[in-house]
């Protein structure tokens, strides 16, 4: 089965349609409707085509581009406004960055401290090396509680490990309770944004999804946001009250107290975290902060960066188990899944500082056009472009050219907007460039002709010497006529055709700059500089320079000195002329 997103069909997502599955469920195929089913990929961090091809498909979806353009413009403006209110925003970013650097430096000790404190407060800590281990731990807990249904707080870590699909295979339905995540789940879709997983949907599409897939949506449901939210609210309320087990992620884990934190907007998280008897939290090991007071920094940085709010509506903090209040059994699953490999890399490790605010997605001009699905990972956008290939690389590097994720570091113009907004100052452009270099180096040993490699080698030879470069430029001017009467090349053979498909290319100029400069210098060396007739006096120009040394008009004498200074050894203008001064 292939889909409208071109994602190869491997395995159907399930869970969201467990109650009242509709005829649309399972029956529709590519192109039949405005939404899914999009088969869930086996690898949540690696699916679909390489980025350029995947982007080409999503770019063709005009509705998607309109939805994304509207949504990202709105959220960008909100963020800019609330960040502008904070006088010490840059200092906060510096602090956030410094705390995260400290966490990465002390990670083993801090993790041990967290485990000790969670255990001391009645929680159970599990260590999961990879997705398979984490999934098994969660499934075993749910089975021990004889739960065939778990309610979920929106969580990137559980997306990353494909927990919902694993649980479905084990006969356990995982119900997403975040509104946008519910939309994605009902549509049998994949999330396209870290914070707003259904950002690619507009309200008309959401209404259709609810009507067809929710099972208990009012028949007269309109596409007014409040009505849509109320329908979801009624649908979810029964789940909160009946579920025995809840699964969450964590925004922060505090080492010195053993406290976990989830920030959210809808209150569904608070329901999940307090109503069921058993709570399982899956947390990436990088989500640590050393002390409780560090929350002060991050609870300012996160909501302003992510939703553009001064403070998020719900901040839930819990420490182990409190008798008679909330879940009476608490499990913390600490997930590695490639993170220690990332930690080992000096440059790339700062990708682990990420607090999943998604500000970088909202400002990214590439993400804005192509959407999240083009990245083929649950982590899309700029942070995904540096995190995904690192998490999926074999130890200590990048997998090489045949891995679709190797295309992700190139999915950026290096415009730097992501770095500017990152609340923990992850230098995403520099990491992208570093990952490109690692891929190039990893592929150096491969046999076969790589046109890019050949071109780069040749360019290096030409561009490392002024003489060679000058000759190459002069040779290029011979192509001046290629532009025809209007001086424009509109159709070029590959690889330049990638350019000329949508843009014209100027024909090379009649003369290069260095040719112009040589003529300019010659002219400047003569009293009547602007007269071409002066050329015949070329032979005497040095003598003339000296004669003019005093009392000649200012602009000329300056120009002459410039000329003199440029006539240094190595220049193709010949011997050095000692001017005045």
């Amino acid at each position: 089965m292939s889909t409208f997103l071109g994602i190869p069909g491997i395995r159907r997502r399930s869970g969201g349609t467990s109650d009242g599955g509709t005829p649309a469920d399972g029956g529709s195929t590519a192109g039949e409707g405005p939404f899914g089913p999009v088969p869930h990929p086996d690898e949540p961090l690696r699916w679909g085509d390489a980025f350029p091809a995947a982007a080409k498909q999503t770019l063709a979806n005009d509705q998607l581009r309109a939805n994304l353009g509207h949504a990202t413009r709105t959220i960008r403006a909100k963020r800019a406004s609330v960040v502008g209110e904070v006088p010490d925003w840059e200092a906060l970013r510096d602090t956030g960055s410094a705390v995260k650097e400290q966490v990465m430096a002390d990670l083993p000790d801090l993790l041990a401290q967290l485990e000790e404190n969670v255990t001391a407060r009645g929680g159970v800590v599990h260590w999961a090396r990879d997705a398979a281990e984490a999934n098994r731990i969660v499934a075993d807990i749910a089975k021990a509680k004889e739960a065939d249904e778990v309610v979920k707080v929106k969580s990137m870590a559980t997306q990353e490990i494909g927990l919902n699909e694993y649980l479905a295979d084990e006969g356990i339905a995982a119900i997403e309770t975040d509104l946008a995540e519910l939309i994605v789940q009902l549509a049998d879709d994949m999330p396209s944004h870290i914070l707003v997983p259904a950002i690619h949907r507009n309200r008309a599409e959401i209404r259709e999804i609810f009507l067809q897939r929710m099972g208990d949506a009012p028949e007269d449901l309109s596409d007014v946001p409040r009505e849509l939210a109320m329908a979801a609210r009624a649908h979810l309320r029964r789940k909160f009250l009946s579920a025995k087990v809840a699964v969450s992620g964590a925004n922060f884990g505090v080492a010195d107290t053993g406290t976990l934190a989830v920030v959210e907007s809808e209150g569904n998280g608070r329901m999940c975290l307090t109503l069921p008897e058993t709570l399982v939290t899956v947390m990436g090991i990088e989500k640590l902060i050393p002390t409780y007071t560090d929350l002060e920094v991050f609870l300012q940085l996160l909501p302003r960066s992510s939703t553009g709010e001064r403070m998020n509506p719900y901040t839930s903090l819990w420490t182990g188990v409190t008798p008679g209040d909330g879940p009476q059994e608490f499990h913390l699953v600490l997930l590695d899944n490639g993170r220690t490999d990332v930690l080992a890399d000096e440059v790339g490790r700062s990708a682990l500082h990420c607090i999943r605010c998604s500000a970088c997605l909202n400002v990214c001009p590439v993400y804005e056009r192509v959407g999240g699905h083009a990245y083929g990972s649950v982590y899309p956008g700029p942070i995904g472009a540096i995190l995904t290939p690192q998490l999926t690389a074999s130890s200590g590097g990048v997998s090489g050219a045949d891995d679709v994720n190797a295309s992700l570091p190139y999915a950026s113009t290096l415009c730097g907007a992501c770095y500017d907004v990152c609340p923990v100052k992850i230098d995403i452009p520099s990491i992208l460039v570093d990952l490109r270099a690692r891929e190039v180096d990893a592929d150096r040993g491969r046999s076969g002709v790589d046109p890019w490699k050949a071109a780069m080698k040749a360019a290096s030879w030409v561009m490392s010497d002024g003489g060679r470069f000058g000759l190459a430029g002069r040779a290029a001017t011979l192509g001046h006529g290629l532009g025809g009467s209007d001086g424009v090349i509109s159709k070029a053979p590959p690889p330049a055709s990638a350019w000329t498909r949508s843009r014209d290319l100027p024909a090379p100029p009649k003369q290069t700059f260095r040719q112009w400069m040589a003529a300019h210098e010659r002219d400047a060396n003569h009293p009547d500089a602007n007269h071409r007739e002066a050329n015949h006096r070329e032979a005497n120009h040095r003598e003339a320079n000296h004669r003019e040394a005093d009392g000649y008009d200012l602009s000329h004498s300056r120009a002459e000195t410039a000329t003199d200074r440029s006539r240094r050894p190595g220049g193709d203008e010949g011997e050095r002329t000692e001017g005045r001064r």
Partner: protein, 263 residues
């Protein structure tokens, strides 16, 4: 001042109007301009595409060529490009260190400390905003990503443009959004690049300007290529070409198809 010019490889071969305007402008302002002929390229293309090994000889050539500025032989190096200045300032030493060339890295840092993008040189070093230019046309300014976010030139180019006599400077909507060039991105991700360019050119056209200007000819090549294809009737000029323009010696309006202004 004695100012060495790093013309940039793309302007030297494809857009000589920018460096030649830089020369004429600085000479008009009373400065010496030196063009060291051993220069070729700063290495940015190789670095940003991940070819660090191939970038090293290119960077070495640049650093060696401009090393005299570190010894005081020249007062400054000027570059009519934000992205090349950015690469010189933020990448050259890093690539040298990664190759184990610590001495070259140190020289690169010394050179980059005296290397300025054109608007930085004019406003910060020479203390000028009014350079005595005249340009009587409707112009909009695109702040290129690297000048904006790597160099943080802020509104320096706009300060310079506002002081130009006769100019009708109009604000560009969504000015800070990337045009989609990104070096090899324009080829490797041509479809995405074209989508970004479409939005950029639409915003430019909405201003009714006859010229779009910027501090980087690489971005202007991309934007101009799109405008030319659309027959939009909008030409491109480098910031230097507008600032070099005077009543006596005006920079002519560029062709609205993609060509250089030959001077």
């Amino acid at each position: 001042m004695r100012i060495a010019l790093a013309a940039t490889c793309i302007a030297d071969t494809m857009f000589p109007g920018a460096p030649s305007a830089t020369v004429r402008l600085l000479e008009r302002l009373g400065h010496e301009v030196v063009f060291p002929r051993s220069q070729a390229c700063c290495g940015q293309m190789h670095v940003n595409t991940g070819y660090y090994d191939e970038a090293v000889p290119v960077i070495r050539n640049h650093v060696t060529t401009f090393a005299p500025v570190a010894d005081g032989e020249w007062d400054a190096v000027v570059v009519p490009s934000g992205s090349c200045t950015g690469s010189i300032r933020h990448q050259q030493a890093m690539v040298c260190r990664r190759a184990g060339l610590d001495d070259l890295a140190a020289t690169a840092e010394a050179v980059s400390a005296k290397t300025y993008e054109l608007s930085e040189l004019l406003v910060d070093v020479l203390g000028l905003t009014d350079v005595g230019a005249h340009f009587g046309h409707r112009v909009t300014y695109h702040p290129t990503c690297h000048s904006l976010r790597m160099l943080h030139v802020g509104d320096r180019p706009l300060q310079l443009l506002r002081a130009v006599d006769g100019i009708d400077l109009v604000e560009l909507p969504e000015a800070e959004s990337c045009c989609g060039f990104g070096g090899t991105f324009a080829l490797k991700n041509a479809d995405t690049s074209a989508a970004m360019l479409a939005d950029k050119t639409a915003n430019i056209r909405s201003t009714d300007a006859v010229v779009v200007t910027a501090g980087d000819y690489s971005c202007l090549m991309h934007i101009g290529g799109g405008l030319s294809r659309q027959r939009a009737g909008v030409g491109t000029l480098h910031l230097a070409e507008i600032l070099a323009s005077t009543r006596e010696d005006p920079t002519p309006l560029p062709s609205t198809r993609t060509t250089e202004v030959a001077r």
